[in-house]
């Protein structure tokens, strides 16, 4: 059996751990630059706030329903995600981190009669230890486990875990489950399927395999089989490879000039990229963050961070430094003087598993050769004999008016409790 542990409204839940007063109230998290909604509490969903809705459209709703708004704080979310993953690892034989808020659980070999209790135990312990509510779905395949975990979110009566194994139960669930919500179907295929009157996951399982094969090729057949209870998507146990690589340092003195900070960030990024290549991985996300000096109360204080999703996962120092320095330029604001900055490489996968994109704008093969040459020279001549000169671009200033404290990574930001 496979499990999927999916954190409920993850970013909102992270904020609520340190703000229990927000339980039961509408809360939303905004994307980089406070542009649009990327996470919503159930209460916010209920008053009609949509995923991806632009913030400016919501001013009235926010006032009317007293919605609490946060800018995204990836430092906090990354730390809480790590805590959830560690807790899951301590509870089941193996886990596969799928995203910042989802992990697959390998439950093969566990007695079937124990799975229902195990699922509820996992859900209870994760919530108790980290404060993050989680939905555990357990089923014969990964695709079905995802559906089971979605059921938990719809039905609070399930108390955080749903073990779906009897074929008559699965059939009943699939008959109500919209085809567009099935893992791996995607928007294009769901439109095509709906035009053929395939509306539910069950309808899809009733199609002849040959038709699925001709319409959707191998990927479609995999999903079709998985929905019929036949495991096709392998469990990818993570080895020792790091899921996130962070390099951050305090500066020797406060910096306010964009060029100076860019230079530091470029250096951190080069160091992180080297670690990434050493473990044979690529990353999809780059997060840049920086702080002012908390101990200088006479000066204006700021913490800024931003996540950039690359079109294609990479391990190239050039590409990563380019993105990081450009992001730095967008983050740095006068009159702030920054004391510390850092780079996090995230959504890390083995390089061998990279899918190529048809219209990839970067010549990755050429980059590969260059990186291999650079690593070789640096190894021979001493670290950082060859580095990249950081480039500058014109950028827009960021808005991050609703950022929460870094409760878990800055001493000046920890919870304050009345004794």
């Amino acid at each position: 059996m496979y499990g999927l542990a999916d954190c409920n409204n993850f970013f909102v839940s992270c904020e609520r751990v340190f703000r229990p007063d927000l339980n039961g109230r509408p809360v939303i998290i905004l994307s980089n630059n406070d542009g649009c909604v990327i996470s919503r509490s159930n209460e916010a969903k209920r008053i009609g706030i949509k995923m991806g809705q632009p913030f400016y459209q919501l001013k009235q709703t926010i006032r009317r329903y007293d919605v609490t708004v946060f800018s995204s704080n990836y430092i906090l979310y990354g730390d809480m995600s790590k805590r959830v993953q560690m807790t899951l690892q301590s509870l089941v034989p193996a886990t596969e981190v799928y995203s910042i808020d989802e992990s697959f659980l390998d439950l093969r070999g566990i007695e079937l009669s124990k799975l229902d209790d195990l699922g509820h135990h996992v859900s209870y312990v994760v919530q108790r230890n980290t404060g993050i509510p989680i939905s555990v779905g357990i089923a014969p395949t990964k695709t079905l486990a995802k559906i089971a975990s979605k059921l938990c979110k719809q039905y609070p009566k399930l108390k955080g875990s749903c073990y779906m194994h009897r074929s008559e139960d699965i059939e009943k669930v699939l008959k109500k489950f919209p085809i567009e919500d099935v893992w791996g179907i995607g928007r294009r295929f769901s439109a095509m399927l709906q035009s053929r009157s395939i509306r539910t996951a069950y309808d899809f399982t009733q199609m002849p395999m040959s038709l699925v094969q001709s319409l959707m090729h191998v990927g479609g057949v995999k999903t079709w089989r998985e929905l019929r209870g036949e495991p096709c998507v392998e469990f990818e146990e993570q080895g020792r490879d790091k899921q996130q690589i962070t390099v951050s340092r305090s500066f020797s003195k406060e910096l306010s000039d964009v060029r100076d900070i860019q230079q530091q960030v470029a250096l951190f990024t080069s160091m992180a990229a080297e670690k990434l290549r050493k473990q044979g991985s690529v990353c999809h996300d780059v997060i840049v963050f920086m702080f002012t000096n908390r101990h200088r109360e006479d000066k204006p204080q700021q913490f800024v961070n931003r996540l950039v999703r690359l079109p294609v996962s990479t391990d190239s120092t050039l590409e990563l430094v380019n993105v990081a320095t450009r992001t730095t330029e967008e983050l740095v604001q006068a009159p702030y003087e920054y004391k510390k900055a850092g780079v996090i490489l995230s959504d890390i996968t083995p390089k061998s598993a990279v899918q190529t994109v048809l219209f990839d704008e970067v010549d990755h093969e050429k980059q590969d050769r260059l990186m291999r040459a650079m690593d070789a020279i640096n190894k021979k001549q001493g670290a950082r004999s060859v580095v990249v000169a950081s480039a500058g671009f014109d950028g827009v200033k960021m808005n991050r008016e609703h950022l929460s404290p870094n409760y878990t990574s800055e001493w000046g930001d920890i919870l304050v409790v009345k004794g």
Binding site: P20, D21, T87, N129, R249, L267, A383, K418
Partner: protein, 139 residues
């Protein structure tokens, strides 16, 4: 008297890493890692958090304004534990007292009254305090 302290470079970015030079130390294979306070204080890294204390309701338990407490959320609360609680919209630090049918939050200062938790309160035990970190005056 002059006290010489080695200069620390913790704020400097290390520009050079992995210098390989000289004869390897014969003690290298026997080096044990230096004692790590984290490992002493933190039993469960995934569930350990910190909070700064304001106020003096717990001075009798030697928890003073400005102290930092180490909190382990994985521990089940029980009678006698000092806990970070969330009650009616506010975080508070108190000792849990369980009496037959009653649940009380006990201050450690005669100036404060015990709080009895009733069904009307919005109440959760946020985490159990395992260590207190305090800076001694005059250091």
């Amino acid at each position: 008297m002059d006290i010489l302290t080695p200069k620390t470079h913790k704020d400097k970015v290390p520009l050079v890493e992995g210098i390989r030079a000289g004869f390897p130390s014969p003690a290298e294979d026997y080096v044990e890692p230096t004692l790590d306070l984290n490992r002493y204080v933190i039993k469960n890294p995934a569930s350990t958090f910190y909070a700064r204390i304001t106020g003096d309701s717990m001075v009798g338990d030697d928890i003073h304004d400005g102290d930092i407490v180490v909190i382990d959320k994985s521990l089940e609360p029980g009678d006698g534990n000092i806990a970070v609680c969330f009650i009616d919209g506010e975080f508070t630090l108190k000792r849990i007292k369980v009496e037959k049918e009653r649940l009380l939050l006990m201050p450690a200062n005669p100036k404060f009254k015990p709080i009895e938790i009733t069904e009307e309160n919005h109440f959760v035990v946020w985490g159990i305090v395992t260590y207190i970190i305090k800076e001694l005056k005059g250091t």
